[in-house]
């Protein structure tokens, strides 16, 4: 497997070979090609956001603000947050794996609106270009949260540009969510009833509900910020009698559900991986399906927990705290059910499974620390400290990014028609896991000890923990570079993959690797429930 001979791809025509040249890619309406367009884009955005993170961590090695000025540091964390949230995490799994797999998993030829799908990528790229342009022209320093009145009145950076870029990319989100909902309702193959759908579909359906109902509120909120900046008068300034906290209400009405947009697709992937690599049906399928929808719904009722110290009423705070505990329940149900699935399963430790198990552990830590933060008494102490930073990175990075990598590896044979190299992939999974924990665990301690977030300079007693965190960040960075390299390599040099290398259930494995343009030679008819490993034992072959 270590020859450098370019192994020719499969002879049969597939979605990669039908239509060549750049026009066929830029004008494609094939959901699989659009998924790859998105994959290229989000990868680029990920590394840009990662560079900002690395610069931040380098600055934080020393207590003084010596590598960059405090103003530049403000721009770094703002740009890191904006790029990572809106241009990597939100589109990552839904627009790459979701786009590629949803039609296949339901037995359809494509999404309901293929042209809208392509348009969404262009809109996304337009938003990204506007945002990057603002960043490189001079940056934005308001934090990814754009709190008023700093963002509307006092900041001297490219707020309108950044807000406009995010506003535009929001339309791509809405188009995607709309497309997915309609597809899942109307385009299922015969026999594919709701409760035979893979849980990947249920989670993406829940994600799409959030896309559609939350994103418009962000759009109008950022629009109002832009209006206030341009016309020097608006609804958030106290000069006219307005309330700056109103911005926070409107912003977090979107941004809390947005974190569920970021994690639900990760959970979607994990459900698939855990079933496949335990060779067992998911324990409590119905509970997991309804838990996904519950997370999406209840997630809209908790946004005030980001505002406990902002000046909301104590009654509002108590209500939001209570609901924040409630929203943890369906997530916990999922963790219990995945664990029960693995228990007494026939487990194989391929790379995707390593990422899936990593997700379960790290997401649990992240989720539990969220419950600490939901307690008013604790939150007053640790809000706006590194405790919060560690909490959300455990979920976003330890959770979502691990799930993303696990999913990319798992479906890589289907997408590319090639196997990735298993040895180095396990090494990089381990590197990511170790690097991640070294980066972010010290941050829980830092936050608890009082280190504020968004500060470039800090008291010297915090230095050793910061040094550990930066060391971890470099290891984590190396761990992310490795798949970039070997996955690229495998595209031409990896061994060709069979249709079902993992012997998994699921319609996507019933077609060739890579699939034909129309996904299936004949429209499948579904008769089995999802993850029917027992029933399909003979069909799928030995473990």
């Amino acid at each position: 497997m270590s020859t450098l001979v370019k192994i020719p791809a499969a002879e049969t025509p597939n979605y990669l070979t039908e239509g060549r040249g750049i026009r066929s890619w830029l004008l494609t309406t094939d959901h699989k090609r659009i998924a790859l367009l998105y994959l290229a884009s989000v990868t680029v955005f990920f590394f840009i956001g990662g560079i900002f993170a690395l610069l931040m961590r380098l600055e934080l090695v020393t207590p003084a603000s010596d590598l960059v000025s405090p103003h530049t540091y403000n721009e770094l964390f703002s740009m890191h947050g904006i790029i990572m949230v809106w241009f990597f995490l939100i589109p990552s799994i839904p627009n790459t794996l979701g786009n590629f797999l949803i039609p296949m998993m339901i037995g359809a030829k494509d999404l309901a609106y293929p042209k809208i799908n392509l348009a969404s990528w262009y809109v996304f790229m337009l938003g990204g270009t506007i945002t990057l342009y603002s960043m490189f022209r001079g940056g934005v320093d308001t934090g990814w949260t754009f709190y008023t009145p700093f963002s509307t009145i006092y900041s001297n950076t490219y707020v309108v540009g950044a807000a406009l870029g995010i506003f535009v990319s929001g339309f791509a989100s809405i188009m995607t969510g709309l497309n997915f909902i309609v597809t899942i309702h109307n385009m299922r193959a015969p026999g594919m009833t709701w409760f035979r759908l893979p849980l990947f579909i249920w989670s993406h359906y829940a994600t799409s509900i959030i896309f559609v109902l939350a994103t418009p509120v962000l759009a109008v909120t950022l629009l109002m910020v832009a209006v206030e900046r341009i016309f020097q008068v608006g609804i958030f300034s106290s000069e006219l009698g307005g309330d700056p906290v109103l911005f926070q209400h409107m912003f977090w009405f979107y941004s809390h559900p947005a974190v569920y947009i970021m994690v639900l697709p990760g959970m979607a992937v994990v459900s698939e991986l855990v079933a496949a690599f335990s060779r067992k049906t998911i324990f409590g399928y119905t509970f997991v399906a309804f838990a996904s929808v519950s997370i999406a719904v209840i997630g809209f009722l908790v946004w005030g927990h980001h505002m406990f110290v902002a000046g909301t009423s104590i009654y509002a705070a108590m209500y939001f705290s209570l609901l924040s505990y409630v929203v943890a329940v369906p997530s916990a149900i999922k963790v219990f059910n995945w664990t029960a699935t693995v228990y007494k399963g026939s487990i194989s430790w391929d790379t995707p499974m390593l990422y899936a198990i990593g997700f379960i552990g790290l997401f649990t830590i992240g989720g539990m620390t969220g419950l600490f933060l939901a307690a008013l008494g604790i939150d007053v102490h640790v809000t706006d400290t590194y405790f919060v930073v560690a909490h959300f990175h455990y979920i976003m990075v330890g959770g979502t990014i691990m799930a993303f990598l696990g999913g990319i590896h798992y479906w890589w044979p289907k997408i590319s028609g090639r196997m990735y190299p298993e040895g180095i992939s396990k090494l990089s999974a381990l590197t990511v896991f170790l690097g991640f924990n070294l980066t972010f665990f010290p941050q829980f301690v830092l936050g608890y000890l009082g280190m504020p977030r968004r500060y470039a300079a800090y008291p010297p007693e915090f230095q050793s923990l910061h040094v550990l965190s930066t060391a971890g960040a470099t290891i984590l960075g190396a761990g992310y570079l490795m798949p970039l390299i070997y996955l690229f390599w495998s595209w031409h040099y990896g061994p060709p993959a069979p249709p079902n290398p993992w012997r998994a259930t699921g319609l996507e494995w019933q077609t060739s690797s890579p699939p034909p343009k129309q996904n299936f030679e004949i429209t499948p008819v579904v008769t089995r429930k999802a993850y029917d490993y027992e029933g399909m034992k003979d069909e799928l072959g030995l473990v």
Partner: protein, 98 residues
């Protein structure tokens, strides 16, 4: 081809909408304090229901469409209720409070 509603129904809806507009204006001339806006919004809700049911034939569509309509209204109410709830319970509004 979607559900077909008769021209007569459309005509009655049109006239009803005009009548409700007129009544909104007339009620506005009464001095009801904050009640004016409340009644105006209520009548507007009635007009919206007429437009949705007859011009948009919402009631003739599949269950999922009705769920989408109900959901959008519910979500809007979530946004308003919880946000206004904060402002009312901190006495930030002109009536009652602390």
């Amino acid at each position: 081809m979607g559900p077909v509603v008769s021209v007569k129904t459309y005509m009655f809806t049109f006239l009803a909408l005009l009548a409700l507009t007129l009544s909104t204006v007339l009620i506005g001339f009464l001095n009801l304090g904050w009640g004016s806006m409340f009644v105006a919004v209520l009548i507007a809700l009635g007009k919206a229901i007429l437009i949705a049911c007859f011009f948009m034939h919402a009631l003739l569509e599949k269950k999922i469409v009705k769920l989408v309509i109900a959901g959008s209204i519910l979500w809007f109410l979530i946004l308003v209720t919880l946000t206004a709830g904060d402002y009312i319970t901190r006495g930030w509004v002109a009536f009652g409070g602390k």
